[in-house]
């Protein structure tokens, strides 16, 4: 079966420290992968998406970066965190569009608090 793993679940980091959030997908190949951020009281903002290994598209300018070193692995990083990076981060995957649109499957999220 297809599953998505996201970790850690919660994270408290000081301003200026680095960040690495990891997301992996099982049970599928060549998924489209997405990173979203949900700030308190606001909707979901698409940060990055990837349609293949090494292919990253950024939706908004920001302090974060993403990488896809393997087909089913998507990493969100920062060299130096800002207070404004606090939020709830969600990873999602989506079947390659040619195979039909079955919706997006989300990980359980990471609550990041920058202090």
């Amino acid at each position: 079966s297809q599953t998505i793993h996201q970790w850690p679940a919660t994270l408290v980091q000081p301003v200026g420290s680095p960040l690495s959030l990891e997301c992996t997908v099982e049970g599928t190949s060549n998924p489209n992968l997405y990173w979203y951020r949900q700030a308190a009281g606001r909707g979901l903002q698409l940060l990055f998406y990837s349609v293949g290994i090494g292919q990253i598209s950024s939706e908004v300018p920001q302090n974060l970066s993403a990488s896809r070193p393997q087909d089913r692995q998507f990493i969100l990083s920062s060299k130096k965190l800002l207070l404004s990076d606090s939020g709830f981060y969600l990873c999602a995957w989506h079947r390659e569009r040619r195979k039909g649109n079955y919706g997006y499957t989300f990980g359980s999220g990471t609550r990041l608090t920058v202090v």
């Binding site: 997405y34 909707g43 999602a92 989506h94 649109n101 919706g103």
Partner: protein, 110 residues
């Protein structure tokens, strides 16, 4: 460009009464529309999806939604609210890059 508008930021109902969460979309091509639910500090769970088959879509937990092209709407309904339905609901247009509405918080009173 795609956009999704959820017309209400909060909806408050009493347990046992009907639920209506409104969503309007704009898309230059045939849309793929979804409703997701998010309980506090949890990921998003798919409730139902419309992908150009039947216009009335039935989902999990008694929810359903009707796709109305003439009104560019995809409203979510449930005949009778339960306390466990209290959560944040997101309407999504996902035919290309997923576009989320800002969310509707459903409050259910006993």
């Amino acid at each position: 460009a795609q956009s999704v508008t959820q017309l209400d930021s909060h909806v408050s109902v009493s347990e046992g009464t009907p639920v209506l969460l409104r969503c309007n979309y704009s898309s230059s091509y045939s849309p793929s529309l979804f409703w997701y639910v998010q309980h506090p500090n949890k990921g998003l769970q798919l409730l139902l999806k419309y992908t150009s088959a039947a216009t009335l879509v039935k989902g999990i937990n008694g929810f359903e939604a009707e796709f109305k092209k003439s009104e560019t709407s995809f409203h979510l309904t449930k005949p009778s609210a339960h306390m466990s339905d209290a959560a944040e609901y997101f309407c999504v247009e996902g035919s290309y890059i997923p576009t989320f509405g800002r969310g509707t918080s459903l409050i259910v009173h006993p």
